[in-house]
């Protein structure tokens, strides 16, 4: 364990040197104690593939804010910790950030299980977490702002699109997912939605696979069989991360094109497509609130800033990065408005904050701690980018509790008076 020890010590030394450099540079620019911003993203382990980029984008946003004069006349300081894709460690690191590092806000988490694991810590210590990833909904915590999409901002519009004439008029549905909470909940909502739209259970096939499933031969053959009943068929994929690549490869190798059976995915974005042989995926769909290919001045500036910061023009941007961009700017505005970084004051100031989306229009923070954002559907192109084929006319209000699950449809999340509640049937103060 000698070697291991030395490596960790080396890493710690490097991190220390980095933060000292950052701190001193900032201190020369502004007066006052720094405002500390916690970043809770896995930098090692299985989730590092997705979360490392989010750490980088946070560092970029903080650097830009410092160049623009900091916040409340004080510099911002990033405190980066590595929860190593280990769910219990997320809770420990969250506690460390709030209690020992005394950060004013935390940006972090990717998987739902990591969010569920830190939730009690944030609620107990009254911390503030910005969660940037699309998720299954059915949650609204007083201490979390959800800047990613709720199911009604991603899954439902995608299914509506595929049902429409334009999207292929699908009548049979394959709900394909990895076996954990996000796909199970999303598919439950989708099944209820499909049933409500006259699709019978016979026309829905729901299949789950273990994590990292790499042998898709049988399932793809089953999908093909299911699709050969003469009715247009579509696949809704909540397959997690790495298992997507072998799935799409198998689809392409078995000669199923996006024109025969379109696959719409909720976890495949630009970052996942970078470093992939995209040929088998061309024409398949993804639903997000942001695509790098959207041509707006805001997006162009964001991408240029990202390339500058990371020093590599080949790096892509994606939806969770935009979520952090929106979340961070809203937090900055809320702090300025509140004149303090104190959590309760900032939370009150968050409601109704607006930040321009990178894809046009304006994102609004609602009192249920979810955003109003536009929904876009794109087809995958050869170069790993998306061709936007459909978008909502206006922003969609994020719904914490799904209208399509009977026991959830009666619940309301509203953190302002008289409700002040994340899951109540009646207001707490009447």
């Amino acid at each position: 364990m000698d070697l291991f020890d030395r490596i960790t010590r080396l890493g710690a030394a490097a991190a220390l040197a980095g933060s000292v450099a950052l701190g001193s540079a900032a201190a020369t620019a502004q007066e006052g104690d720094p405002i500390r911003v916690g970043i809770l993203h896995s930098l090692s382990g299985t989730m590092a593939i997705s979360e490392t980029t989010l750490k980088d984008v946070m560092l970029m946003l903080i650097e830009e804010q410092n160049e623009a004069g900091g916040l409340l006349g004080r510099p911002l300081e990033a405190v980066v910790v590595d929860p190593a894709s280990d769910w219990p460690l997320f809770a420990e690191k969250a506690r460390e950030l709030i209690e020992q590092e005394e950060v004013d806000v935390v940006f972090g988490c990717w998987t739902s299980v990591s969010r569920k694991s830190v939730l009690p810590v944030f609620e107990e210590l009254n911390g503030l977490l910005f969660y940037p990833v699309q998720y299954e909904g059915e949650e609204s915590s007083r201490n979390v702002f959800y800047t990613g999409a709720a199911p009604n901002q991603q899954a439902i519009p995608a299914v509506e699109y595929l049902m429409s004439d334009e999207g292929g008029g699908a009548e049979r549905w394959v709900l394909l997912g990895t076996d954990y909470v996000y796909p199970r909940t999303t598919n439950r909502i989708l099944r209820a939605f499909l049933n409500a739209n006259g699709v019978s259970d016979d026309d829905i096939m729901e299949t789950y696979t273990p994590f990292g499933h790499s042998d898709w031969q049988t399932i793809v053959a089953e999908v093909q069989e299911f699709a050969s009943q003469g009715l247009p068929t579509a696949v809704v994929s909540t397959i997690n991360g790495d298992a997507n690549v072998p799935f799409y490869k198998e689809l392409a190798n078995q000669g199923i094109s996006a024109e025969d059976i379109p696959v719409v995915a909720f976890s495949v974005g630009e970052e996942e497509l970078a470093g992939l042989d995209t040929e088998p995926l061309v024409g398949h769909l993804a639903a997000w609130n942001y695509f790098m290919s959207v041509d707006t001045p805001e997006n162009e500036a964001f991408i240029a800033g990202w390339h500058d910061f990371i020093g590599d023009d080949a790096r892509v941007t994606n939806d969770p990065m935009e979520a952090h961009y929106i979340g961070f700017n809203m937090w900055v505005q809320a702090v300025e408005q509140a004149g303090s970084t104190e959590v309760d004051a900032v939370r009150q100031a968050m409601y109704g904050q607006t930040v321009p989306n990178l894809t046009g229009g304006v994102a609004v923070m609602n009192t249920n701690h979810h955003l109003s954002k536009p929904v876009l559907i794109g087809e995958i192109l050869e170069d790993g980018q998306f061709d936007v084929v459909w978008e909502t006319d206006d922003v969609v209000v994020g719904d914490a509790w799904s209208d399509f699950i009977p026991e959830s449809s009666v619940l309301t999340a509203d953190w302002t008076y008289p409700w002040v509640c994340g899951n109540c049937e009646t207001p707490r103060f009447q």
Binding site: M1, L3, F4, I7, L43, S44, T46, A48, I49, T52, D165, E166, G167, G168, G169, D179, T207, Y208, T209, P210, G212, H213, S214, D215, Q217, T218, I219, A221, E222, Q224, E225, S228, Q229, G230, D242, V245, P246, K249, E250, N253, Q254, G255, A258, E259, P262, E271, E272, A274, G275, L276, D277, G283, L285, D295, E379, L381, D387, V389, W390
Partner: protein, 552 residues
């Protein structure tokens, strides 16, 4: 008399010619305006209008339609913002070179912001393709004709019948003929004439195709008052009979397909486990870093392909042949280093070995993550590994899986040869069977240990080359295979290569036969439970080693 007739004919012909010449410009002018309007609708209309425009355009039979629609399907059709010109765009060094679809002339070079790409989503491309399907039935390329016939078959478009019959009469290629006849029968299924329908059902009954099954099943659907979709009783009887026959053949093919998939999964398991069969099975080292050797092999493939891309892009198809020995050497060298650096101090202490190699696997993962980045790396498939053999019954045998089965058997045979026919193999077997005696006979056991471990690791590296073709090349690649590998080796019988072979294939086939019934998650659990029960009954696995080595 004959002269007069001739004269009358000539006169009539001349008249027709004059009339034709007179009529032609006026007709084509009106047509031209209509054509231009259809093109404009294609660019700016909503979805329904666009669809109608595509149908109308194909009906004109104009030679400009095919390239225009093809460009639209390939996302190369643009609308110039300033004047509404519809043009095909070609990438040029200076921007986008526009070619006017109406005149076929070049219309200048523009930047990407000056034009709008005319959106064509999957559905639109499907409509375009079936519209083009009829137009390409006479294409000189047999593959295009085959595709066209398949498109017509799926659309069951009655409008295509005439074109199809013409094409059928001229068709020489057998495979294309069969596809066209299938398409013709599918169209005739919707004919008014019961005799034609009966003929169609009989023609279709000889094909084994899930699509046909659903077409036939649609005939037998009853509505609420009990009337069948197909009114003629003879046709219904024929359809029922044909349906049964097709169902039977399909079920047979499906089972065959599952067994093939099982063999394919088994070959992947065998590849991943075969190196472990040496390090764990023969040497008895519990090597948790085995998966990372596989990962190193996959990353070696990536590096080799990167070099090919940079220096010899023309020879890219051969990159795997370089990657295989390279991966063997890299992973093998890593294996020797691990054995000499760590494991040799831990022989006879399995728990410490387990912990040390597990730690090592974490270090290797993070090392790769630091060097190559946490995201997936792109490993391309050479052209000869892409695609599949399509059987008529909807079962596809993909080339990459076929080659992996082949590769796995070659590696297995090679390993058996090394163990049985080379001095190194002899020494390895001697050391594992009786270390003291081997030492006494003058074998340098330390060197043999290092080489054995290196051989096992090197084979894991070669497995990485194969796995890079079907799985992600990411730092986590190895983790997903380590448990399965141990399972295969333990199930097959520790120390027995043939046991590993049998174990891998029986696990693969069992998994794939269970999957359609139990689902992927439950199927895997069932297999695990079965193995646990089996190991209770036979702790030494399928093929237990006998003799003194076991007791030692």
């Amino acid at each position: 008399m004959p002269i007069r007739v001739n004269r009358a004919l000539v006169l009539a012909f001349a008249l027709a010619l004059v009339l034709g010449v007179l009529a032609a410009p006026s007709r084509s002018l009106a047509q031209e305006a209509e054509f231009a309007e259809l093109v404009a609708t294609l660019a700016t209309g909503d979805f329904a209008e666009k669809t109608a425009a595509i149908a109308a355009l194909t009906a004109t039979g104009d030679p400009r339609v095919q390239p225009m629609l093809e460009a639209m399907a390939d996302r190369r059709l643009y609308l110039r913002e300033e004047d509404g010109l519809v043009a095909i765009g070609e990438d040029d060094a200076e921007g986008l070179r526009l070619i006017d679809v109406l005149t076929g002339e070049e219309a200048g070079i523009v930047g990407s912001r000056d034009v709008d790409r005319i959106r064509a989503n999957n559905r639109m491309r499907g409509i375009i393709r079936s519209a083009l399907g009829t137009m390409t039935l006479m294409n000189p390329d047999a593959a295009v004709r085959l595709e066209a016939a398949e498109t017509v078959f799926r659309s069951q478009d009655e409008g295509a019948l005439d074109a199809l019959e013409q094409a059928l009469a001229a068709e020489a290629d057998d495979a294309v003929r069969a596809a066209m006849e299938k398409a013709r029968a599918a169209i005739l299924l919707g004919s008014e004439d019961a005799v034609l329908r009966l003929e169609a059902v009989e023609a279709l009954s000889s094909f084994t195709d899930p699509d046909i099954r659903s077409m036939l099943a649609a005939l037998l659907v009853q509505d609420q008052d009990g009337t069948f979709a197909e009114t003629d009783e003879a046709v219904r009887a024929a359809a029922t009979e044909a349906l049964d026959a097709i169902e039977q053949r399909l079920a047979l093919w499906r089972t065959a397909g599952h067994i093939y998939q099982g063999i394919s999964l088994g070959s992947v398991l065998l590849l991943a486990a075969i190196g472990l069969a040496i390090t764990f099975g023969v040497m008895g080292v519990i090597n948790m870093a085995h998966g990372e050797m596989v990962m190193l092999g996959a990353y070696t493939t990536f590096v080799v392909q990167q070099l090919f891309r940079d220096y010899m892009p023309g020879l890219f198809d051969f990159s795997l042949f370089v990657a295989i020995p390279a991966a063997f050497l890299v992973a093998g060298a890593a294996g020797v280093a691990i054995e000499r650096g760590i494991i040799r101090f831990l022989y006879g202490r399995p728990l410490e070995t387990l912990l040390a190699t597990w730690g090592l696997s974490l270090i290797l993962q993070q090392l790769v993550r630091t060097v190559f980045g946490p995201t997936n790396r792109e490993v391309g498939a050479p052209s000869w590994m892409q695609g599949a053999i399509e059987t008529t019954a909807g079962i596809t045998l993909t080339y990459n899986r076929l080659y992996i089965i082949l590769f796995c058997l070659i590696v297995f045979a090679g390993l058996i040869m090394v163990l049985r026919r080379t001095p190194l193999g002899l020494q390895m077997r001697a050391v594992t069977q009786n270390r003291q005696m081997a030492k006494a006979m003058g074998i340098r056991t330390g060197r043999v240990d290092a080489l054995t471990f290196g051989l096992g690791s090197g084979i894991a590296g070669m497995a990485g080359v194969a796995l890079s073709q079907i799985d992600n090349v990411s730092p986590n690649l190895g983790q997903s295979y380590i448990i399965d590998s141990f399972l295969v080796v333990v199930f097959g019988g520790v120390g027995n290569l043939w046991g590993t072979l049998a174990g891998a294939f029986s696990l693969g086939i069992a998994n794939k036969l269970l999957e359609p019934y139990a689902g992927a998650v439950l199927g895997k659990i069932l297999v695990l439970v079965a193995i646990i029960l089996f190991i209770q009954k036979r702790p030494r696995g399928l093929f237990a080693l006998k003799g003194r080595a076991v007791e030692a």
